[in-house]
Symmetry: C2
Subunit: 470 residues, 2 copies
């Protein structure tokens, strides 16, 4: 059911603003929705949300309390557009689907484009999936099951399987007439595809080209040969990178035999592009694909792994300090100052590494420009190291009234910032060569190096400089 | 000049693969390009790159040495598609443009869609801009100057000013005929717009709808009323969020008087969406919009600010340690172990904060679900704190043969992880309320708190437990 139909069936929506100027849902709007829900007043609820975009409906559902969500869907009944479920966090969606009758879900999914139905079904366990699929029409079921056979996060999972394919010898006129008659088309599309008798992909024609060409012209004369078609088994991140690189709005998806099996559009891919950039950030901080709606247990468990690894590297750094316990006993000021050296090194290392990890992800950093970048990082490390060591040297000189201590901490910082730059660059590059995702493991290694080098350089230089025991 | 024309004019490209299976440019291809450049053989170069997508041409230019880049553009001459410049890092683009003759640049820009021309010109200084604009045709110049009048990073800068607008009373047939005759259309478009006699935007029609509707039907019957049109002065991040939320592929851009002035398409916005997600990551690590091709001075300067702030917070943590110098002198093991407490707290804080910063950016975290999330963070902090404190407690017990020390570090870690969870959530939320970008300043504050609390809790508990002096 489209939004337009819903509007026709319902009274005009009340004039409550849905979002404020920052784009947040307004309290007055949400209050009205909750009141309608509490009163079980379907007409009012329909007037409020019937006309909303699915993204807004999704946002409304997420703000509702857990037990209000199924009530919301049930009260809207037929008028609820299941596309809104694609806008929910996974944890919220799975929980909500558990509360809804299988028959309702099947009826709702039957109305959707196949890619949206797959997106909603794929997180459910096999049993629930089978129950829902069992209630779908044969053709819908076949389409969805075929998509679910593709690996998770592959192009085959994300693609739309309704599309227009024409032979190259058709004219523009024939093609337009065919489109006017075809049904079961996706709600929007931007290209049509040209296939040979074996349904192998030959090319594509943008709709605006069809519209600008006289009816008599042959399709073969205006089509673009396919250059960047996507394999159905390909990982969605690879596909996203290609969409981004070539500014694609849609792309044909083919199987191993080069037969056209589906179409990907950029709106399915925008989320992947964003997730990919976010993934690096989360990986660096040691959080997985956690969502704000995840439970305590899920969250604690996924974060603990990282913290345990961190505990290991922290103990390693402590072992380095333990080498110098006599030095510290002889001069406690060293214990006071040593975290400064480690902290600055860790931060400088994170800076280099963040840039390196993103540059590797976007393929802006590889063997060819590595030496150039390495040279830059070494120089930046030295420049900033010297700047900071002058600053801290002066502070320490006045604080402890000890010029020697200022010199010691200054030189330790230069050494550590140099190492920070080197490791921040070389560790992600090495991990990438070893086919490990550089974002995941880099920050452990980098802070391990900057902690160990920082403590060792500072305490070691101090021991030598002041001829302290160690 | 389109790629198709180039292909007609040049010999068939040699069969060297351009990219390997990972999507990286191959060495053999780049070697061939460099050889052609060195030999100044235009035909070979054209055969190699004439048929490439602008994104690939851009990638080739970036891998070339600095002095080869202008030579590359000059050798290709008329056949060089300036769109490729939009694919370059800013530093590379500006440098390259400095080396090219103004007349060549003007001729190249004249061929481009207006948004691409603006994108290339906007980073140049006013003088160079004026020189190039002076060589453009009057209509091109007017278009570009009008776009440059909009603020940086606004929708007006990114929009395409060629588009199709029709009155609502036209029929589908009239519209199709108009499109067949119009020239100066953008290379691709996905919608056309419906305007009133004052050129005020009324609605939009997707091209696929035009194609599926009989010629006699009125445009007003099939158009969608505009719901999400973009203001030309709006910031591109706001616009990107709207594209993402509503899965838009293109959107009309209007001026203050609601008059249609341009069109934004998703391929212009995809980069913004990615940059926005990346920006948070860079902000957390204290690097600005640095690119891998930036110079040593630019890089060092932009990173130093953050390191100086970090130096300040590190000194604050040292002051806390200094409170306990007598305690440390009495038991040096405390100096050995104290970085573990601070490091675990810092990491746990970064985990919570990363999730919170992204959730705020995507508007998944606000006043309504804050209490729920806060409860979760407190519980996760306690659960993981207890798990880690048992682990480290046992390690310390065996290492120092001191059960009391194990208890002390264990309790300090529970305290610090609790604070880490609280601060990791509350600091970004507070900054957001104060209208400061939470990504920029959060990690300074969070690590400051976890360092200070970590050192204070550990050394303080130890002093009390072992009745040490402080």
């Amino acid at each position: 059911m489209t939004n337009a139909e819903i509007v026709d069936a319902a009274p005009a929506p009340a004039a409550i603003p849905v979002r404020d100027e920052d784009g947040r849902l307004t309290d007055s709007f949400l209050g009205a929705v909750e009141a309608a829900l509490a009163a079980e007043d379907r007409d009012v609820l329909l007037a409020l949300v019937g006309d909303l975009h699915e993204a807004d409906v999704g946002a409304v559902i997420e703000t509702l309390a857990e037990d209000e969500r199924p009530a919301f869907v049930r009260l809207l009944g037929d008028a609820f557009d299941y596309t809104a479920l694609t806008e929910l966090d996974e944890a919220v969606r799975v929980k909500l689907l558990e509360e809804l009758p299988t028959a309702d879900i099947a009826a709702g999914l039957g109305e959707l484009d196949s890619d949206d139905a797959v997106y909603i079904l794929e997180d459910l366990d096999a049993e629930d999936q089978a129950a829902i699929l069992g209630e779908l029409s044969y053709s819908d079921r076949m389409q969805i099951e075929r998509a679910l056979d593709y690996p998770e996060e592959s192009a085959g999972r994300r693609m739309q399987t309704d599309f227009i394919a024409v032979p190259p010898f058709w004219t523009v006129g024939q093609t337009i007439d065919h489109m006017r008659e075809a049904d079961d088309l996706p709600e929007t599309f931007y290209e049509l595809y040209v296939v040979d008798p074996g349904f192998r992909l030959i090319g594509a024609v943008a709709l605006n080209k069809i519209l600008r060409t006289p009816r008599g012209e042959k399709i073969s004369a205006i089509m673009t040969e396919t250059r960047h078609s996507v394999l159905a088994t390909e990982d969605q991140e690879e596909v996203a990178r290609r969409f981004e690189r070539y500014n694609l709005v849609s792309s044909a998806v083919v199987d191993e035999a080069d037969r056209l099996v589906g179409v990907l559009t950029v709106d399915d891919i925008v989320d992947v592009i964003q997730e990919e950039a976010e993934e690096d950030m989360r990986a660096l901080a040691g959080v997985g694909d956690e969502e704000i709606s995840d439970s305590v247990v899920t969250t604690a468990r996924s974060r603990l792994t990282w913290l345990v690894v961190n505990l290991g590297t922290a103990i390693l750094a402590s072992l380095v300090i333990a080498l110098f316990d006599d030095t510290i006993e002889a001069m406690v000021a060293l214990a006071v100052l040593m975290p400064i050296v480690a902290s600055l090194g860790g931060n400088a290392g994170m800076q280099t590494m963040t840039v390196a990890v993103r540059a590797i992800a976007t393929q802006d950093l590889d063997a060819r420009n590595m030496m150039r970048v390495l040279r830059r990082e070494v120089l930046v490390g030295i420049v900033n190291g010297v700047a900071l060591s002058i600053l801290i040297g002066v502070v320490v000189y006045f604080w402890f009234d000890n010029p020697g201590l200022g010199m010691v901490i200054g030189s330790a910082i230069v050494v550590n910032l140099l190492f920070a730059g080197l490791c921040g660059l070389l560790i992600p590059i090495t991990l990438d060569r070893l086919r490990v995702d550089p974002a995941i493991a880099s920050s452990v290694f980098v802070t391990m190096v900057t902690d160990v080098v920082g403590f060792f350089a500072f305490l070691g230089i101090a021991a030598v400089w002041f001829s302290l025991p160690f």
